[in-house]
């Protein structure tokens, strides 16, 4: 199944996998992701949401639409099947209006995960060292302060621990102002699994798990993006 996803993307001359494809690949490798499934109709969307659990999130799926929220392609916090159905219609109408030329495959349905400490796990390919793993705190801390740690893939347990501990924002993961500490064991495990995943899939040029929600117990990747080598 995973091989089929990459082969299909290659056959379609795509290097960017859809979020659904990326999450299937990641889940196959035991990486905790919030599963997303494709709904082509209003009824499918409602049924998938009921199965995955409420509240639900809907996102438009189209190879031509990179910035989903710009075309009204994202709906959050949907608490019932009726809500989901209505949101499906709004997304389809809005996407067609804002991107009339785009081929729209449907809508990705996923559960809206409870918020945790946002972290980012990424992979990029360095021309000299090959695949490189990145870890950092999510949101503004990664964008403005570039507070991230790198390691060359593959990493060992010790590297995973050092990556987490060497970012400046580490105290935020240790718990602050009554916030429970983040599950560092789960984050280490996530880093090791992503390292093994990329090592096992040399076709992958870039990967972003952003954000990952870190909880007192466990961690889950809410969004995922995978780019293949040309």
């Amino acid at each position: 199944m995973p091989a089929a996803i990459i082969e299909r993307a290659r056959a379609q001359k795509r290097t960017l996998l859809t979020e659904i494809e990326a999450k299937v690949l990641l889940a196959e490798s035991g990486i905790p992701v919030s599963p997303a499934r494709l709904a082509r109709t209003r009824d499918e969307a409602a049924a998938i949401a009921a199965e995955l659990g409420f509240p639900a999130v809907l996102k438009v799926v189209s190879a031509q639409i990179a910035h989903k929220s710009d075309v009204g392609g994202v709906e959050l916090g949907l608490t019932s099947k009726d809500d989901v159905g209505a949101a499906f219609d709004r997304i389809m109408a809005s996407a067609k209006q804002h991107a009339p030329d785009a081929t729209i495959d449907g809508v990705a349905v996923q559960r809206m995960e409870k918020p945790g400490t946002e972290v980012i796990v990424g992979v990029t390919t360095d021309p000299q060292f090959g695949p490189v793993l990145m870890f950092g705190l999510g949101g503004v801390l990664v964008e403005v302060l570039k507070d991230v740690a790198f390691r060359i893939i593959p990493i060992e347990e010790r590297d995973a621990r050092q990556m987490i501990e060497e970012i400046k924002g580490y105290p935020l993961l240790q718990g602050y102002r009554g916030q429970p500490p983040a599950d560092q064991g789960a984050l280490r495990s996530l880093l090791l699994k992503v390292s093994a995943f990329v090592e096992g899939h040399p076709e992958i040029a870039e990967l972003d798990l952003n954000p990952v929600f870190a909880y007192a117990d466990g961690a889950i990747a809410v969004d995922a993006r995978i780019v293949l080598h040309d």
Binding site: D126, Q128, F129, G130, V132, A149, F150, R151, D159
Partner: protein, 470 residues
């Protein structure tokens, strides 16, 4: 290419210098002179079609005219003669061709890069390894190989590899002034064949080398470098200065050695992952080589500091803590001694020990340091022996020498790492200058780690101690 380097790189049975010159102000002369002065034991063959004798040795018109086989050829001829040199070398069973010759791919010129590719091809076909092009070559204190007549030949435990030629010379000269003695130094230039990974692999297993320094601007294979670094750092301390970390630095690096410099963060990650010490400046590189060369690893980060007056003591405490060290108070055992010998000071003196408080008390800073060393309350020590009040005395030279000898004796006996601080005299007074330089030399001759400032001593102690955290 395999990382198995031929033994002839470091211990050739014979050496020929193509482009040897009788002009004493040229590299072609320097190479011949260097081998003679360094005491190289095998035959040296200067090659020059227009000279009969160079540096007292008979010269040969071409490599083909040299009697018998030649292990190592040093090329100082222009780039366009190198292919012919390889053809002649193949018949002489040359194992290693060192190309001091430059103007290859580092110029960015496509024809020069093409010539470089052909040189590589022909050398490979002749089973000849290439060092360079565009590099100073090999220094080996055991076999008497040297690339400049003024390099310190004392046999030692420090190896240094450098993509840059002048960095290799500077490190040796500045390092020797700090007491470093070298086993092997290799300036490898464009790394057309023999590269930094090959050399690190070799040094990992080199029994003469206990400490490794490297100046690297770029690499053709990050993966192999990472593995070689891991192997080397697993066996001995490895200190790496990565050149071309910034945008401006990278531009210089590209035109300098035709190597692509990688991103700063990725290099830092790789070095850390391999267990190597990354330094940002040449001074830090020297300081860590000094630290690893003269001291044993620390078992912790608690530092005891002696020397300097009140303000200096406060600043010493600041820089130590900022460098990641702990500055614990004097233990009870030391206070007991002070209560007995100098009761009025007993509760006043603390770590760092303010030398000015002790003045006239009959208790010397050296004695307090001794007690601190015996107490077991510290993992490492800084002895600041640059004493301004001593320098003000008419007999400054003798006094300082006496003080330094006392500290040096303690340093020799110390099992914990000990850093000595003696800054430059910073004085136009020649008498003071001599006193300070003389004292420094006494410490260095005693094989001790000497630093120009408390800041640099603290930083080196901290970095060396944190190796254990890997």
């Amino acid at each position: 290419m395999s990382h198995g380097l031929p033994e002839e790189l470091f211990s050739p049975k014979s050496v020929a210098i193509a482009g040897a010159s009788s002009n004493v102000d040229s590299p072609g002369h320097d190479y011949v002179r260097s081998l003679v002065d360094a005491g190289y034991g095998g035959p040296i063959f200067p090659i020059n079609p227009r000279a009969s004798e160079i540096a007292g040795l008979p010269a040969y018109a071409s490599l083909s005219d040299v009697p018998g086989d030649v292990d190592l050829v040093i090329s100082c001829i222009p780039a366009d003669g190198v292919l012919e040199l390889i053809e002649q070398g193949a018949r002489k069973r040359v194992k290693v061709l060192h190309l001091f010759t430059g103007r290859f791919s580092e110029t960015g010129d496509e024809r020069a890069a093409e010539l470089e590719r052909r040189v590589r091809e022909r050398a490979m076909a002749a089973d000849m390894r290439i060092l360079g092009p565009n590099c100073m070559g090999v220094f080996d204190s055991m076999s008497g190989l040297s690339f400049r007549p003024d390099l310190p030949m004392a046999r030692g435990n420090v190896a240094f590899i450098s993509q840059s030629g002048n960095n290799s010379v500077e490190l040796m000269l500045h390092g020797a002034a700090r007491g470093l003695r070298f086993s092997k130094v290799v300036s490898y230039g464009n790394a057309l064949d023999i590269n930094e990974a090959d050399l690190l692999w070799y040094l990992a297993g080199d029994p003469a080398t206990e400490v490794v320094g490297a100046y690297i601007e770029g690499t053709q294979s990050g993966r192999r470098l990472l593995e070689a670094l891991r192997a080397c750092a697993g066996a001995k301390p490895v200190v790496v200065l990565k050149g071309g970390r910034t945008g401006a630095g990278s531009r210089t690096a590209a035109s300098h050695t035709a190597a692509l410099a990688g991103q700063r963060q990725v290099w830092s990650a790789a070095l850390r992952q391999a267990g190597a010490h990354e330094v940002q400046t040449f001074d830090e590189l020297l300081d860590l080589l000094v630290m690893f060369s003269f001291t044993r690893p620390a078992s912790g980060v608690r530092v005891g500091v002696v020397g300097g007056g009140g303000g200096r003591a406060v600043q010493s405490a600041d820089v130590c803590e900022e460098a990641g060290l702990e500055v614990p108070r004097l233990p009870e055992r030391v206070r007991l001694f002070l209560r007995e010998k100098a009761p009025q000071l007993a509760e006043w003196v603390d770590n760092p020990v303010d030398q000015s408080i002790l003045a006239g008390s009959g208790v010397s800073g050296a004695r307090v340091l001794e007690l601190m060393m015996e107490s077991g309350a510290y993992d490492m020590f800084i002895a600041n022996v640059g004493e301004d009040w001593v320098l003000g005395r008419p007999d400054a030279g003798e006094r300082l020498a006496h003080l330094v000898d006392r500290f040096a004796e303690m340093g020799r006996r110390a099992t914990a790492p000990m850093a000595f601080v003696l800054g430059p005299a910073d004085s136009p007074d020649e008498r003071k200058w001599r006193a300070v330089e003389g004292a420094r030399q006494r410490l260095i001759d005693a094989r001790l780690a000497v630093f120009p400032s408390v800041d640099r001593a603290a930083s080196a102690l901290s970095r060396a101690a944190h190796r254990a955290t890997r």
